[in-house]
Symmetry: C2
DNA sequence: ATCGGTCATCGTCGATATACGATAACCAAT
DNA sequence: ATTGGTTATCGTATATCGACGATGACCGAT
């Protein structure tokens, strides 16, 4: 019943650009981005150049625990980074990861637009 | 803490919050794309320049009903189009929509990379 | 009219997502 | 040590997702 789509080890590439090579990885990154609250949080983080959880909470109509969860989702997806700072946590966007994701998404979509989307399975 | 917070308002508020509409739309499009099976289906559709549901099923380890549901998700998100064709349904990628989505995602992510992601008021 | 092929939908089931409040931990300052 | 502020996590409740099989509808060919 399971099995579903093949799932190869991402095997982190050395260069770093092809971080979102497989469909699974790309889907995961997109899932981390496909929530309006997380999009807003990402925007806010990029604006203020790093801030703590409460800062985000003060800018959103969500509970602290909810914001913390959204941050965790993006953190685990590698979209943002976290650095403990005294009693707080300083969150910053991972610009390299965002740039790589942007390239991956554009690559996929533009290839589909052009009709040159090869079935690069695995 | 804020007292009562409206968590879900189906937009349409005259002077209400309009900044959520864009994020919501983008999040919805991304959600339609954030599944490995749908990414693969989209690639296949773009390769063959339109095909029927069974064609997709034959290229994926999923049941026909499952593929049909994935197609429906992307259809309702506006990523693909459908045209009845005899006893089948001819699915094609909506290249304009994909190009627009690509631009939107790149716009968001590049703005975050550059730190110029304003909290879009308009 | 019947058959074969195709498709969308229904019902179901388990897993996941999303939201919240409550709680404990942690640090800085008193 | 106690207080106050911040954060992560737990537990819970609800909603949605993702998959499947079964079913009925639809069309073309027999």
């Amino acid at each position: 019943m399971e099995g579903s789509i093949e799932h190869q080890h991402p095997q982190s590439a050395p260069g770093g650009i092809s971080r979102c090579a497989s469909d699974d990885a790309l889907a995961r990154s997109l899932a981390a981005l496909s929530h309006p609250a997380r999009i807003r949080i990402l925007r806010h983080l990029s604006n203020v150049e790093g801030c703590c959880c409460k800062d985000v909470v003060d800018h959103m109509p969500l509970a602290q625990s909810t914001v913390s969860q959204h941050l965790k989702v993006m953190l685990e997806a590698g979209l943002i980074r976290m650095k403990p700072e005294g009693g707080r946590s300083c969150y910053t966007v991972d610009r390299a990861a965002l740039a790589a994701l942007s390239a991956s998404v554009s690559g996929l979509l533009e290839a589909c637009v052009a009709g040159t989307a090869s079935d690069q399975k695995s």
